[in-house]
Amino acid sequence: MTEIFGISPQALLSQLLIGLVNGSFYAMLSLGLAVIFGLLNIINFAHGALYMMGAFGAWMGFTYLGLSYWLCLLLVPLAVGAFGIVIERTMLQWLYKLDHLYGLLLTFGLALIIEGLYRQAYGVSGQPYSTPELLRGATDIGFMMLPNYRAWVVVASVAVCALTWYVIERTKLGAYLRAATENPKLVQAFGVNVPFMVTLTYGFGVALAGFAGVLASPIIQINPLMGSNLIIIVFAVVVIGGMGSIMGAIVTGLALGVVEGLTRVFYPELSSTVVFIIMAIVLLVRPAGLFGREK
């Protein structure tokens, strides 16, 4: 077998795939953050906790109710979204007129509460969740063995991201949404129910986090801390990409996952910090982020 820089192509490709899988999660989460930020001007710190709720939702659905993976993939995001709507109606809606920082602080508090409650109930050791039968095993695609489930994660998340992009950029509903992002008062004056749209948007962004959680459940240890560790990386991804565009969030997420995977091959010591280093460099060169607009 030939080697590239002393590394076998097998190892390189498998790390690349893991990177792509991680990138899929970054993309889905930063997309949710970007959509929420666009309309609500709130950075949702609870996003990681809601992602964790998604993963736990799948596990609970199976353990307590015997629901299949596929049913959970549909129901859990709806449940997490509904939970988000309750949060928006009862708490977030009072903050829109205040400094944006209060939204960050409130959702940080929510993240602590959710994380603490799950930790109280389930401890910090991981819960296992088995891969659905349909996606077990691996497929030989000539140059490598492709684990089916990981391939499915990438396909599913790219499809969901693409769908979100299409709805926001190419449909009438998306046009309302973009208009309300620019000027909510004017859109409301045209008879569009903006507060309702804001609520639904938060619910949708949060449901996306729940969906990512269910997708992640078979390939990670489901534990209450999984969300907060991820959310900080996703914040860095958001800073790197800039909050300006939907496409930017998706592309940056996937790309950084791949970069992280490659770092794990060539310089493992840096793999946990490379995203933050890239963020620092981007801030020096292009403070608004790769896809962001300077205000």
Binding site: F37, I43, M91, W94, L95, L98, H100, L101, Y102, L104, L105, L106, F108, G109, L110, A111, L112, I113, I114, E115, G116, L117, R119, Q120, S228, I232, I233, F235, A236, V238, V239, E269, S272, T273, V275, F276, I277, M279, A280, L283, L284, P287
Partner: protein
């Protein structure tokens, strides 16, 4: 004597007399409160008086603790020199992170500082001198100026109290100087401050470095008190904790962070046996503060006081 001076004298007397009641309050607990009160006051300089929300102050607090721990344990430095070393390193770190973070404002600044602090966390996890998961244990308390033995809790208490008063005096002086006025003007209206000819970026950076250095001083002192520097001090939970102390006590008030630190640490002390309930209660206080109580304890009290004197 003005009201604020009365509070000062009362606090000073209370602080000096505290070791007399060591049967009621545990001195090590008090020393920890003092360290966190200094930490929160330093943080308040940035959030309350300059309007910058940093979500990564644990990096300065925790890293300085490691530096002091290493300097005192491996190099045998005296405690005051150890703290000085920690403070200096925190200032440099503050300069590096600060100059990156102030390139963006508002929410972005919070996310950038959080991410940079996470970078520091991973460095501490992997570096040799920090002891990884174990941290630096058994840091000697040493002799102050080589003369006064600090292994005794009461003498260490007065040492810590001295550090706190020094740090607090620096912050108080900074807030009530022309420099502090410019910081407040930047908080209220940055474009106008710039139009008046002030280099807002430079002032923000100086405030950031000052805040980071004093946070480092607090962290260094804490490492001597507990004889331990660990990953918990650099973890983002600590960053969140200092935000909570400032918010709960009252941001932009002089005494708020002290009240906040005392309340939060007291709460943790009594809830320590209850597992995750500390986290849950902390989160709940955050939510309540943001929704109903944005001026904080001292802010609300001051408002009541002002109303009653106005009548």
């Amino acid at each position: 004597m003005s009201a604020i001076n009365k509070v000062f004298v009362a606090l000073l007397v209370l602080g000096l007399a505290a070791p007399l009641f060591k049967n009621i309050v545990y001195p090590v607990f008090l020393m920890n409160v003092l360290c966190f009160a200094l930490f929160a006051s330093a943080f308040n300089l940035l959030l309350g008086f300059t309007g910058l929300l940093s979500f990564g102050h644990a990096a300065f607090f925790g890293f300085a603790a490691y530096v002091t721990g290493h300097a005192c344990k491996e190099w045998g430095l005296t405690p005051e020199l150890g703290i000085l070393a920690g403070t200096a390193v925190a200032a440099v770190l503050g300069f590096v992170i600060g100059s990156l973070a102030i390139r963006r404002a508002g929410i972005y600044l919070a996310m950038i500082t959080l991410a940079m602090a996470q970078l520091v966390f991973f460095v501490c996890l992997q570096a040799k001198f920090t002891g990884g998961e174990d941290g630096i244990q058994g840091i000697p308390r040493g002799r102050f100026l080589g003369l006064v033995d600090l292994t005794d809790n009461v003498s260490l208490y007065y040492f810590v109290f001295g550090v706190f008063v020094l740090g607090f005096a620096v912050i108080y002086r900074a807030i009530h100087s022309p420099f502090g006025q410019i910081l407040k003007s930047i908080r209220e209206n940055e474009p106008r401050a710039i139009s008046l000819g002030y280099d807002a970026e430079k002032f923000k950076l100086v405030a950031f470095v000052l805040s980071a250095a004093l946070s480092g001083m607090a962290g260094s002192t804490k490492s001597l008190v507990n004889q331990l520097a660990s990953l918990a001090d650099v973890h983002w939970h600590t960053s969140g904790e200092v935000v909570l102390m400032t918010l709960l006590g009252g941001m932009g008030t002089v005494f708020g962070p002290i009240v906040g630190a005392l309340t939060v640490k007291g709460l943790e002390h009594y809830l320590a046996e209850q597992g995750s309930w500390v986290t849950i209660v902390t989160g709940a206080i955050f939510v309540v503060c943001v929704l109903a109580f944005r001026r904080g304890i001292v802010g609300e009290l001051a408002a009541v006081f002002r109303k009653s004197t106005a009548k």
